[in-house]
């Protein structure tokens, strides 16, 4: 079936460096994508979203890139901080299939001081 997956299950970066977390999706009909951050013992929190009519969107210290040709999504975090340590999930939605968001398996980001 259709699914959303991640290239790297774990990522370790030095504080101050930039982080890139990748996500591959297989449903070419998906038209909306979201990145969530989940800290230990908490529910996921929204970071940034992007619709399929865009290829880049920037937030505060975060940028999401969407490449529909190869069905790839990435989250870039600038100047990574210890507080960024968490599991990051990408999620996709195909509006024609209704409202459910399908989540990938997640990447654990560890920031070394």
């Amino acid at each position: 079936g259709e699914n959303v997956g991640l290239h790297l299950p774990t990522l370790s970066v030095q504080e101050g460096d930039n982080s890139i977390i990748n996500c591959a999706y297989s449903n070419s009909a998906s038209d909306y994508f979201i990145w969530y951050k989940q800290e230990s013992g908490k529910g996921p929190q929204f970071i940034i979203d992007i619709r399929s009519n865009m290829d880049k969107r920037q937030g505060q210290r975060v940028t999401v890139l969407l490449n529909k040709t190869v069905k790839h999504l990435s989250l870039q975090i600038a100047a990574t901080q210890p507080g960024d340590s968490a599991v990051y999930f990408c999620a996709e939605n195909d509006y024609n299939q209704g409202g459910k968001l399908i989540f990938g398996q997640g990447t654990e980001l560890s920031v070394k001081p």
Partner: protein, 115 residues
């Protein structure tokens, strides 16, 4: 409250018992979702409700699982005759609208342990 509230936060039960998990969404949010997260795993879609439309139950893993929602308020997820593989964190989320028109706001989850 200001956020999505779930109860109980922790539930330990014996195999074969029924459990009921509760979710209070953010006021005014028409869409409500249930996800399951096993230890170290991603979020597995279970069901979502959108206003008065029929719920999308396509993610429920078996007929032991059911969920109800009263209007646009509280939802309960019921697991009958629990099995050990049901052990997981059950996350509820709500949004102003379903799908590509709304960000999901998650609760802290209900951790279920089946002995």
């Amino acid at each position: 409250g200001a956020g999505v509230s779930q109860s109980p936060s922790n539930k330990v039960t014996e195999k074969g018992k029924d459990v009921e998990l509760r979710c209070d969404p953010i006021s005014g949010h028409t869409a409500l979702y249930w996800y399951r997260q096993r230890l170290g795993q991603g979020l597995e879609f279970l069901i979502y409700f959108q206003g008065n439309s029929a719920p999308d139950k396509s993610g429920l893993p078996s007929d032991r699982f059911s969920a109800e929602r009263t209007g646009e308020s509280v939802s309960t997820l019921t697991i009958q005759r629990t099995q050990q593989e049901d052990s997981a964190v059950y996350l509820c989320a709500s949004s102003l609208a379903a799908g590509s028109t709304g960000e999901l706001f998650f609760g802290e989850g209900s951790r279920l342990t089946v002995l």
